[in-house]
């Protein structure tokens, strides 16, 4: 089997795909000429901001458009899969003409493959652009305050690091909480899980009123005293910048911001930058989990599907993982991180690898209803933080509205399996 | 052939009626002047002939063709608007050129006609100005120029010279008369100027309150006004009127017999023009009057006098007359100069 041979029937086919404007995609883009040269398959990229990527793809699939590959954020997978807009990979892995013998599906971090590419036990997509929440910290500030390392637990953040580092207009910590996906994914969920809370219980009823969930939310509320004013208007940019400017001592952010924080053009703290896994809560580490997979779109015709698969398989392959990493992407291949020197060269690797060992795929539920639910969480989550409602009132509201959405979707009537 | 004929034209503005049953025949090549008090319907009539104003009933024909329903642009008339209606964004030249251009005249003709009109109207040095940079009289001349370059069958002028000074006015008058002769076009002219009306008109149409009072040649109107209104309207200063009653075999003013002729119908009022009243020494005339005001115009003077009964009589005197306000003078009314009118205003007698 060789790529060239496998691709020979599809030379000249054009594969349409949506890319985001992020480092991982630039890395892939840089690799594409090589693929095209080998296969004669053209990759036609539409670059979209994250904000528009979902709407654009949904519209395209609804209208039976041109897209041959779906780019799937982990929270979209349920939606895409249930609408059968994407094709399970076994259609291709079972086809010897297309399946690369070296595919080695088990080399992907299982958590990542499962969360990004899998839905309800079926694998649809291969992890492509992968993130984990990490703790980025300003080593110099910490040392100055007498700490010899980053906080290991959220409890330490609250009781030791917080009070010690919040002074002179500087703050210990900043938690991006703007009212958009940031609020639900980065702020709300981040404090829910480590304290043992969750969005839903096993019956798909709201679990936000549980003692654990409430503990997490109250903790967040409490911790705001060590965060800059107006934290509810902080998006990633503001938070990363706060660390980059030396205004806060540490932040919990996506691994992807490593580049920003390491770049002297965008950061003043390159020399002091430290990276660690997110702090642990009573329930363990449970870091934020995010990322994208690529899956073959079912609306594509057979040739396009085959070509699309070949591309997905190639770009996420074990063989290309190092190139991808070096060009700025974050592959989800375990093998690449075991290569000698990689851990030293890329500071974030150890923390990342550790984060991907232990996490919850349903960090944010991944079913089709998430888009509706995240809107509810965003609204009431910020209201909570602003003190407009108590954590109980807010949780109650979110719970009621969330259940209404789920009810309408047919989970309670048994029409739908309780998958998230 | 551009005879203009109106038959029973009525015009309403909502509830108001501006024209009442106007029937009129202006022969081809004639110079007709519309006169009448402000608001009597002169502009409305002119605009109706141009087709700019739809008429409520009646019929209008130009050159024998019924144009009542014909579009204004197809009537081949040119009009000078009372409001000028110049195109503010076009220079004087372009203003004049526009009509010819849209009618596809060739450039030479256009240039020649504009040059000629500008010369006549003394606008040559203003050809490149915009209307906003012109004085009132200059604008008015541009409006005239726009009409004459078109050389239409019928010209409609709405007070075209009202903003010009006396000297220019006379020049323009002569130019328009020349134009009239040369082009042989029918011209209909609205004016408030007595001199213009009298000197230019072949026929004067006197309008009053939307109705025609009299149609006739200037001298006819002057000498034999058909109604008291016309008598008072034609001639400046206007005719003096005195209430009269039968007496002394003829008619008498407050007991003083005026003339000797008896009239079929007993007249209610006698009229005599200021220029026809004879001045005499006190007691030497028919009646004595006191001079209240004297208006000296240079070449002549007007005496505003009052009779004992309190009636006002205006008398034209010589420019050098020695008579002064406060003097008493005698007045004579030469019999041939008297006009008589019945109570309803109609002329009485010959």
């Amino acid at each position: 089997w060789s790529l060239e041979e496998a691709a020979a029937p599809y030379a000249g086919t054009t594969v349409d795909v949506v890319f985001l404007l992020r480092p991982g995609y630039e890395a892939a883009e840089a690799m594409i000429p090589e693929f095209t040269e080998k296969t004669g398959i053209e990759i036609n990229i539409t670059k979209l901001p994250y904000e528009n990527a979902l709407g654009e793809q949904v519209r395209d699939f609804v209208a039976g458009g041109d897209l041959d590959i779906a780019l799937i954020d982990l929270v979209w997978i349920g939606n895409f899969a249930e609408n059968e807009w994407i094709v399970p990979i076994d259609k291709f892995t079972s086809n010897p003409d297309l399946a690369d013998p070296e595919l080695d599906i088990d080399d992907f971090f299982p958590l990542v493959l499962n969360a990004f590419g899998g839905w309800n036990g079926t694998i649809y997509g291969l992890p492509f652009d992968n993130y984990s929440g990490l703790l980025f910290y300003n080593r110099c500030m910490l040392e100055e305050a007498g700490f010899d390392g980053p906080p290991e637990t959220w409890d330490a953040v609250m009781n030791e690091y917080g009070p010690a580092l919040t002074k002179d207009g500087k703050y210990a910590y900043a938690l991006q909480s703007k009212r958009n996906e940031t609020q639900s994914a980065d702020s709300f969920a981040r404090m829910l899980w480590p304290f043992g809370g969750s969005f839903l219980d096993e019956n798909f009823r709201s679990n936000l009123m549980s003692a654990e969930s409430q503990a997490g939310l109250k903790f967040r509320q409490n911790l705001m005293q060590y965060m800059p004013e107006g934290i509810v208007s902080y998006d990633h940019a503001e938070t990363v910048n706060a660390l980059a400017q030396g205004d806060v001592a540490f932040i919990t952010e996506w691994s992807a911001f490593y580049a920003t924080l390491k770049n002297p053009e965008t950061s003043q703290v390159t020399d002091c930058l430290g990276i660690a896994p997110e702090p642990m809560g009573p329930a363990g580490r449970k870091p934020a989990l995010g990322g994208f997979s690529l899956a073959v779109a079912s609306q594509a015709d057979e040739d396009e599907q085959a070509a699309a698969w070949l591309f997905i398989q190639w770009v996420t392959s074990k063989a290309n993982a190092e190139t991808y990493l070096r060009k700025g992407g974050v592959p989800a291949r375990q093998s690449v991180y075991e290569l000698p020197g990689i851990a030293e060269e890329f500071d974030f690797v150890p923390a990342l690898v550790e984060s991907w060992q232990d996490g919850v795929p349903e960090f944010r539920p991944r079913f089709a209803e998430w888009p509706e639910i995240t809107e509810i969480v965003q609204e009431w989550g910020t209201k909570m933080m602003l003190g407009e409602v108590t954590t109980e009132e807010g949780a109650q509201e979110i719970g009621t509205r969330m259940e209404a959405v789920l009810d309408q979707a047919g989970y309670y009537s048994g029409e739908k399996p309780l998958a998230q | 052939m551009a005879q203009v004929t109106l038959e029973g034209v009525n015009k309403h503005y909502g509830a108001d009626q501006a024209l009442f049953d106007i029937s009129l025949d202006i022969p081809d090549g004639a110079f007709a002047v519309f006169v009448g008090p402000s608001g009597c319907g002169k502009s409305t009539l002119l605009r109706s002939i141009a087709g700019l104003e739809g008429i409520s009933s009646g019929r209008i024909a130009i050159g024998g063709d019924d144009v009542t329903a014909v579009a204004p642009s197809d009537r081949n008339v040119a009009m000078v608007f009372q409001s000028y209606a110049l195109y503010p964004h076009m220079s004087v030249r372009e203003n004049m050129d526009f009509g010819m251009k849209v009618n596809g005249f060739d450039p030479q003709t256009r240039a020649a006609r504009i040059a000629e009109a500008a010369r006549i109207l003394q606008l040559t040095e203003y050809l490149d100005r915009k209307p906003g940079q012109l004085s009132g009289g200059q604008r008015q001349r541009v409006a005239i120029g726009r009409a004459i370059v078109k050389q239409p069958r019928v010209f409609l002028f709405d007070e075209p010279l009202s903003n010009l000074d006396a000297k220019l006015r006379i020049q323009m008058r002569v130019e328009l008369e020349t134009l009239h002769r040369e082009l042989g076009a029918t011209m209909i002219y609205v004016t408030h100027d007595q001199v213009e009306a009298m000197t230019m008109a072949d026929v004067i149409v006197v309008l009053n309150g939307g109705r025609i009072e009299q149609v006739g040649a200037p001298m006819e109107l002057y000498h034999r006004p058909a109604t008291e209104f016309v008598a008072g309207f034609i001639g400046a200063p206007s005719m003096n009127f005195l209430d009269v009653e039968p007496g002394g075999g003829a008619v008498a003013y407050r007991g003083v017999p005026l003339g000797t002729r008896a009239l079929e119908t007993a007249p209610a009022r006698a009229g005599i023009r200021p220029e026809h009243v004879a001045l005499a020494a006190p007691g030497a005339g028919l009646i004595d009057v006191t001079v209240r005001v004297k208006e000296a115009l240079g070449g002549e003077s007007y005496l505003y006098t009052r009779t004992e009964a309190g009636d006002e009589i205006v008398v034209r005197a010589d420019g050098e007359t020695e008579i002064a306000p406060g003097d008493t003078v005698g007045l004579g009314f030469p019999e041939g100069r008297l006009h008589f009118f019945a109570r309803d205003g109609a002329r009485v007698g010959v």
Binding site: V58, K178, R179, P228, A368, P371, E372, E375 | -
Partner: protein
């Protein structure tokens, strides 16, 4: 002041516009009305069904919708008078004789706010109103005002939106009114200037009647546009914090494109359209009847 013309002439003037708008405008609108009568969720297209006026009933009884509506009208009620007041002032100032160069410059500068992409204005808002690195707080600091949490505080965020709306659309009002002022014959203004020096009286009695058409235009267009206001708020606050800046269009977008419930969103939009039309008719009845 107007004339009857043959149908052919009339149609040659007006037909192309009618055709263009009918072709481009009506189809999608009908489609939207159609969806509003259905359960129509983009991600659940298999479940599309006719549900009559359910969506409408849902919208009309939904407090969130009315909250957003109320907020939108509050914005309108604050921003529009400011825009009209400032816009009128600017238009009058530019209409006055005076320093020609400075006026030309100002006229050009007026275009700047409008010309700035609305979405970018929101981002600019984030930069300028940021509590930390925002220049607004810095400037306020110069005059001794403590840093204000513009975007993070619900009350302030609303006013930040008001500020940008006023900044961006006052020039629009000013230009429309300036065009209106050019329709006042100069000698009429002169006649009025002989009577009074008070610019207010000249405005009120002489210029206003000429401005009314423009003012009504501004009222209607600004109302419609405020009800449609989206880009700037979306990029600046995204309706937050809390729902302090969740205006009606943000809500509709959320329902239609985030939650993908196009049926509900269409119903909301149709109701919005009806409200706009009713309001416009009201403006016309109240202010425009004399002119028209």
């Amino acid at each position: 002041m107007s004339s009857r013309v043959p149908k052919r002439t009339l149609f040659s003037f007006i037909g192309p516009s009618i055709l263009a708008l009918a072709l481009v405008g009506i189809g999608p609108l009908i489609y939207a009305v159609w969806t509003s009568l259905h359960f129509f969720n983009l991600t659940k297209l298999r479940q599309v069904e006719f549900i009559g006026l359910d969506n409408y009933a849902h919208v009309l009884t939904d407090p969130i919708f009315w909250d957003a509506m109320g907020r939108t009208f509050l914005l309108l009620g604050i921003a529009l008078p400011l825009q009209i007041a400032f816009g009128l002032g600017i238009a009058l100032l530019l209409h006055q004789p005076g320093i020609g160069f400075l006026k030309t410059l100002t006229r050009l500068a007026l275009v700047l706010p409008m010309a700035t992409t609305y979405a970018v204005v929101g981002l600019l808002g984030q930069v300028m109103f940021n509590i930390k690195y925002g220049v607004v707080n810095q400037l306020l600091g110069f005059v001794g005002v403590d840093p204000i949490n513009w975007i993070g505080d619900p009350a302030n965020a609303f006013y930040a939106v008001v500020f940008w709306d006023v900044w961006q659309w006052t020039p629009f009002v000013a230009l429309v009114l300036l065009a209106g002022l050019t329709t006042v014959p100069p000698e009429i203004e002169e006649a009025a200037r002989l009577e009074t020096r008070s610019w207010w009286k000249v405005l009120r009695y002489v210029q206003l009647p000429f401005l009314l058409p423009g003012l009504v235009a501004v009222l209607i267009l600004r109302t419609a546009d405020t009800l449609k206001l989206f880009d700037m708020v979306f990029t600046m606050t995204r309706g937050g914090p809390g729902n302090a800046t969740e205006f009606i269009s943000i809500l509709i977008q959320r329902v239609g494109f985030r939650a993908f419930d196009q049926g509900l969103a269409s119903a909301q939009a149709v109701i919005l359209l009806v409200i706009t039309i009713v309001l416009s008719q009201l403006y016309i009845r109240v202010f425009y009847k004399e002119v028209r």
